[in-house]
Amino acid sequence: MSVLLIAEHNNKELKPFTLNAITAASQIDQELHILVIGYNADNAAKAASSVPLVKKVIHIDNSIYENYLAENFTPAIIKHAENYSHIICSANTFGKNLMPRIAALMDCSQISDIIKVVSPDTFLRPIYAGNAFATVKSNDKKKCVTIRPTSFDAAPSDGGTAEIIKGDGADEFTLTKFVKKEEIKSDRPELGTARIVISGGRGMQSGDNFKLITAIADKLNAAIGASRAAVDAGYITNDHQVGQTGKVVVPDLYIAVGISGAIQHLAGMKESKVIVAINKDGEAPIFSVADYGLEADLFEALPQFLEELNKLNTIQK
């Protein structure tokens, strides 16, 4: 048995969730190889080889892999998949887009978004927006599995010296073309890995009012999240959405402001260690998952919250 993990990277470094997927993959089998497909991606391959849990890096480099397209990656992965019992990647938009394309061609019934490795063929995964947990066993010869990154710790990234070998790619898929990516750059911690997340919902009433949230996020070095309602209303961009169809976050502290707490939103945050809800509707379902609930008008509470935080001089970074 051995595991092939598909790295997510930007040709220079590994994306953080690759390290979480490595932890999960190593729980399936210790013989863990990682496939780095990219263009001028030597540094990403080196970063993969220095992860102590990784036994071997296969690096495929070609200009057709400069931008990630599942149509191009899939045949290259299939070429290298033969000797592996498991193909693994993160269940973020990268892996969700890619893995089913691989699985179908290997005639494998994929297991998506696992939160626990029970044994090499049995996994725990949430269904119905996390309102039920299913224990499932794959009877396929080769298993294609995606990992919910926030359910596994990031693997240590330094000190390993895995061998890097060059691998062959496949022919270019010419019917799909990358056009552009509008990446929202921010100095804040990434939503998926931040220690503190503060999110706003429909109760924020406008995009401009999110500055109340921004000020607190600056103070706490927090990432900014949002409910789908806030994104749909155009208050904030889609990369901030937390929930069943957005991102899943598990911070130490999650502060939900003006969010009623639809089950679809709870699916993305209810595993957070400490949850705070600020909402003027005392009956809002968000209070049912909150450790600390404050029934208040957010436009009064948020400035006070900032003021109180400013009085503390011990805020952890």
Binding site: P100, A103, S109, N131, F133, F178, I196, R228, T237, N238
Partner: protein, 249 residues
């Protein structure tokens, strides 16, 4: 252009899910069912493209038990021209559904296949990508904007980092995000008219597809419950609790 739209019948998104005591699944008896929400967006987009004169026919398809037909009828009531119901019983995995859709695509020869990006019951997010793989077609997943060109589509995709735009030649598979559009409601006259639209019945067996699950569902259980929290009376009390009790700031 001809568009095939796949829809799935799921437990309504507003229903509080209950897990069966014997651990065999979730309670579906006497539970409100409806079309998987992003599948409604897929139907809406296909109908809009037809209304804009860029498509000639919209065909709605579902795979599942007898009652799954309701979702096709709903699609017909908002503008799809005809329907297909592929009968199949029991748990249907995305791999089996994509194989069924592949057979229908080979017969119907659509230029585009639309469906929701994810079903809100099994949360798999696989069927569209699998169908694209089996057909060796382009895939534009998580679409929040679609621009129909002559022989291609420019699709804006919602990805973790923000937005990505790709161009796909037709034929192609598009999986739709909830932000793609605002699905319309069916009017009563259109619901009545939809009953007269053709709905073809097929079965997975006729198409030669074995739908027996490959994945064994060992048990389904309730997630661990959070212990009840408290209400605080003021912002300063909240900050003190976070600092001294929870120790997270």
């Amino acid at each position: 252009m001809k568009i095939l739209v796949a829809v799935k019948r799921v437990i309504d998104y507003n229903v509080q899910i209950r897990v069966k005591e014997d651990g065999s699944g979730v309670v579906t008896d006497n539970v409100k069912m409806s079309t998987n929400p992003p599948d409604d967006n897929a139907v809406e987009e296909a109908v809009k493209i037809k209304e804009a004169g860029k498509a000639t026919e919209v065909v709605a398809i579902t795979v599942g038990e007898e009652k799954a037909q309701e979702t096709v009828r709903k699609a017909l009531a908002v503008g799809a021209d005809r329907g297909i119901h592929v009968k199949a019983e029991g748990i249907l995995e995305p791999l089996a559904v994509s194989k069924i859709l592949q057979k229908v695509v080979e017969k119907e020869k659509p230029d585009l296949v639309f469906m929701g990006k994810q079903a809100i019951d099994d949360d798999c997010n696989q069927t569209g990508q699998m169908l694209a793989a089996l057909l060796n077609w382009p895939q534009a997943t998580f679409a929040s904007k679609i621009d129909v060109k002559d022989k291609s589509l420019e699709v804006t995709r919602e990805v973790d980092e923000g937005l990505e735009t790709i161009s796909v030649n037709v034929p192609a598979i598009i999986t739709c995000d909830l932000r793609l559009n605002e699905p319309r409601y069916a009017s009563l006259p259109n619901i009545m008219k939809a009953k007269k639209k053709p709905l073809e019945q097929l079965s997975a067996t006729d198409l030669g597809i074995d739908t027996k699950p490959r994945i064994e569902q060992i048990k389904v259980e309730e997630p661990p419950k959070r212990k009840a929290g408290i209400k605080v009376g003021s912002v300063s009390e909240l900050v003190q609790k976070l600092k001294n009790e929870a120790k997270v700031i």
